[in-house]
């Protein structure tokens, strides 16, 4: 399990919507185009695979920063939502 910080930039409104819709499913939006996702290896590969189909690499830019548990403890947050943690089960 890693916490991935995913940031993106695209000039196309349509693609921006598609990218952000997909990322919503995998993590939490912490700034306009910054997501934090807690994922295992397979989920991360799946996310990249699916994102790949929704972008134009000539124009868009995506970055994935993995944070190990070692550096996770050193994250500083000034304002905004708290650091994303592993989501548990849900009871309704």
């Amino acid at each position: 399990m890693f916490l991935y910080v995913v940031v993106y930039d695209t000039p196309s409104d349509k693609r921006r919507k598609k990218i952000s819709d997909l990322l919503e499913g995998y993590g939490k939006r912490v700034q306009y185009s910054v997501f934090e996702c807690v994922l295992d290896k397979d989920q991360f590969e799946e996310l990249k695979f699916r994102l790949h189909k929704r972008i134009k690499s000539e124009e868009d830019s995506l970055r994935f920063y993995p944070l190990s548990s070692h550096t996770l403890g050193q994250v500083e947050i000034w304002g905004g939502p708290p650091l994303t943690s592993v989501p548990g089960s849900f009871i309704v």
Partner: protein, 329 residues
């Protein structure tokens, strides 16, 4: 293991982009992201839209439909997984091997029960305690020496007859009593909690077994039949005390459960009501997600179940290997 439990009645699950939405009338109760979900358990009368079902099947997320009290009616499993590759191997397992496996399971069940009681009795000794502990240990030894399933089941029964009354002695709140284990139907709040707990755990194990492509109907200890997933019941044995019984004790002794408010009586039995069921599930999930020291370091309790299922699989591929059931340490 991220599970969505829908225990409120009359909910609707629909798909929205990457999410399952749980709605009750016009209110959105919960949004769960699909890529992070592993299984869905629907208790009672809630609806799942075809879109939601399709999305789950596509993502290999099984959906189990259960009664409000945890009896599993059936489950949806994607067809793409292929069909029971391991089943042939399982069908040709030698009788001798099955008996050895069953003996290990019974022994672990007895010893786990013993450890649970021992810990309780250390805090509050009872008159019968020391004898019960000695007898359970003796029975556990006997289990390994049995030469037939009938003998083994006899030992298991003798163990249960000693274990449950002593477990009852560990209850410390007025109104909660356990003299013997009753089921179909459970007749008092303690038995209601045990029954519900075993059923929830049983269904989780069934799903895990299915996920590992094992045939749940090929068991060792329990009589195999077309209607009874015997392997699931086998695997349940070693986890009864450490998970369900100890959770019940905790719920009672810390006063989480209320004997007046959390139960209902009908059809000659006692059952958890809506409030009680939710309380129970919440505590169950918390416990299963809590971490525990295992051979592979800190792990959530869920992983213990998966580890055991994988071990069974390994033993089936290699009959020389001997099965090590889960033991409380």
């Amino acid at each position: 293991m991220r599970t969505l439990y829908v225990s409120q009645q009359g909910c609707r699950l629909n798909l929205k982009q990457e999410f399952l939405q749980v709605q009750w009338r016009e209110t959105l109760l919960q949004e769960v992201s699909l890529p992070l979900l592993e299984q869905v358990l629907v208790f009672g009368r809630s609806q799942v839209t075809t879109d939601a079902v399709r999305a789950c099947l596509k993502r290999d997320i099984p959906i189990a439909f259960l009664s409000r009290l945890g009896y599993c009616y059936g489950r949806l499993i994607p067809i793409e997984r292929g069909y029971r590759r391991l089943a042939h191997l399982q069908q040709s397992l030698p009788e001798e091997w099955r008996l050895r496996m069953a003996a290990q399971m019974v022994r672990a069940k007895l010893l786990n029960g013993r450890v649970l009681l021992m810990r309780q009795l250390r805090l509050r000794p009872t008159e019968t305690g020391p004898l019960t502990l000695r007898s359970l240990e003796h029975l556990a030894e006997q289990a390994l020496r049995t030469t037939s399933l009938e003998q083994l089941r006899g030992i298991e029964g003798a163990g249960a007859a000693l274990y449950f009354p002593e477990l009852g002695n560990c209850l410390q709140r007025p109104g909660f009593v356990l003299l013997t284990r009753t089921r179909r139907p459970p007749t008092n709040p303690v038995n209601a909690m045990l029954s519900f707990g075993y059923m929830v755990l049983w269904n989780h194990l069934l799903t895990l077994i299915e996920l590992q492509d094992l045939d749940p109907y090929q068991g060792c200890l329990h009589a195999a039949s077309e209607r009874h997933a015997a392997l699931v019941s086998d695997l349940l044995e070693e986890f009864r005390s450490p998970i369900v019984d100890s959770l019940m004790l905790w719920l009672v002794n810390t006063g989480v459960m209320n004997v007046e408010e959390d139960f209902e009586y009908h059809e000659g039995g006692c059952f958890l009501n809506d409030v009680g069921r939710k309380k129970y599930l919440k505590a169950f999930v918390q416990r299963m997600e809590g971490s525990i020291q295992t051979d592979e370091g800190e792990q959530p309790r869920w992983d213990l179940l998966t580890q055991q299922v994988k071990q069974i699989k390994k033993c089936i591929y290699n009959l020389e290997e001997s099965y090590q059931p889960y033991r409380i340490r």
